[in-house]
Amino acid sequence: MTILVSNSGGTPPGAEWPQIRTVGIDGLLVSFGDRLSEPANRAALALRNAIERADWAGVEETSTSMVSTYLRFDPLWQGHAAMRASLRELLGQQDWFAAALPTGRRLWRIPTVYGTDLAPQLNEAAAVAGLSPEEAMVSISQSRVQVQTIGFAPGQPYLGELPPEWDIPRQTALTDKVPIGALTVAIRQITLFSVSAPTGWRHVGQTAISLFRPDDATPFVVRPGDEVLFEPTTAEELANMRASGPDGGATSEVLS
């Protein structure tokens, strides 16, 4: 596998993957592509697991984003050159794009109210996608999507990939605030909000699941590789499920 090493910058045309770049003074990022793809996502997750297993001296933290693995280390303890060399050696050991998904993955069924005043942008998002609101609801609720990464906010998943008609841009103006449990869409992805936050993504569904529980034994509920079905429910049922606890009526079963 050829590895293109760039000291800092962007993506040259025709670049080969993976690439290693620096992040600040104490981080390295291994990217497996410049656009989202399922193999690149799997590669990033698998490389992170491999780095964790390798337990290199000086490594302080690892994480993944959509198609990249991040590694933070103490550059006063272990130099950049040595850390890059370790990474290159590890990268050469296998075809990361062919790596398996993480084990212990689960399928979640999360009850969701589509549209109504709980999720006021279903009609608008459907129109941008060229669908009727009813078609939009069917399309999203029948898409079995996968957690590609956790990020932006604690325990907050990015899920995909939705059918091609959902390749809709973010809004130019931000929505002031969406509530916890908001299902939002853009660029063939879903973000399910773990906190209440402003967003450029359109709010098309509302769930009652609490994804970040700082005082629980499991503070972060969903994990990369988990799959999710957002099953339609009514506002009344959702209110009952919300009262039933932090899962908000969501259930999970082990996949692998």
């Binding site: 000291n7 992040v23 981080g27 990022l29 933290e61 984003s65 006063l76 990020g151 325990g155 503070p219």
Partner: protein, 342 residues
Amino acid sequence: MTRALIVHRAGPGLSVQDQGRPGYLAYGLSRGGAADRLALVEGAALLEQDESHAALEMVGMGGEFEATEDMRIALTGAPMRASIDGVRVAWSASHSLPAGTRLSIGAAESGTYGYLHLGGGLATPSRLEARSAHMTAGVGAPVQPGSSLPVGEDGNPGSTGLGVDAEPRFDGGEVRFVPSLQTEFFDPAELTRFEAIEFNRDARGNRMGARFLPQGDGFQNETGLSILSEVIVPGDIQITGDGTPFVLLCECQTTGGYPRIGSVLPADLPRVAQAQPGASLRFRLLNLEEAIEVERCEQERRKGLHRTLRPLIRDPRTIPDLLSYQLISGVTAGDDLEKAAK
């Protein structure tokens, strides 16, 4: 009565802060912790205790406090007007706070984040391995007036009345940065201009980040708004849609899709966090090797900080019981004032 600090009055955004929660990036939780971590180092040096102790972070404005037992305190970060029972006390210094006296801390004279450290540290419950409030994640919340915050046992109830020369960082100035993920998407001429012009800290900003208004046009780049969301670290300089730089701080989101022109050195991040609205800053690009050398020097300087402490010189006008001192005969050991201060 338990060993505690009573908060009679609290400015907005008063919160318990420590070194934060490194290690949760993969779960979408940024490290958080004190906005000015150097202030924690200074406080620890002044009280001769570990840097892991939690302190109170005050945003632009302090509050009024009372200790239930005699305590040692240190005041660091953005200088604020402080007094104990009406007697002005020095900033960037350690003091005795006798039980029942009132510590009043007013508005910041410069900078943004001031810190009140206690001998033994704040002993509020730990959540996810830290005591820090992380406002954007909803872990913890601002401290409200009327609260009583538990304080740990002081393992070193030694000297007070020491001062530290605080690294100047409260009025803007030069901030150094290294290239980052999307630096090469910016035209070299734009990068040169980024280093050449001055920026003013915008009023918009919080523990997540600070916006800087260029004295001139915004900064354009070739990525458009189409780049994939990628890991974000504190210090990253995002260029938002209108071309304005936004420097991310301790409580930033963990991923983001705006292009980053560079990343501010950890050593200079306190300067970014502390800059008051309107403060003027410049950015200077270093290469990675230079930046790591800066970091090495800064770590060594911080390790040696305790050796630079000096006794405070007390102003006789601020001593309320001046007449009780032996002032006439001249036969004193010369340290009466220090002894009296203990």
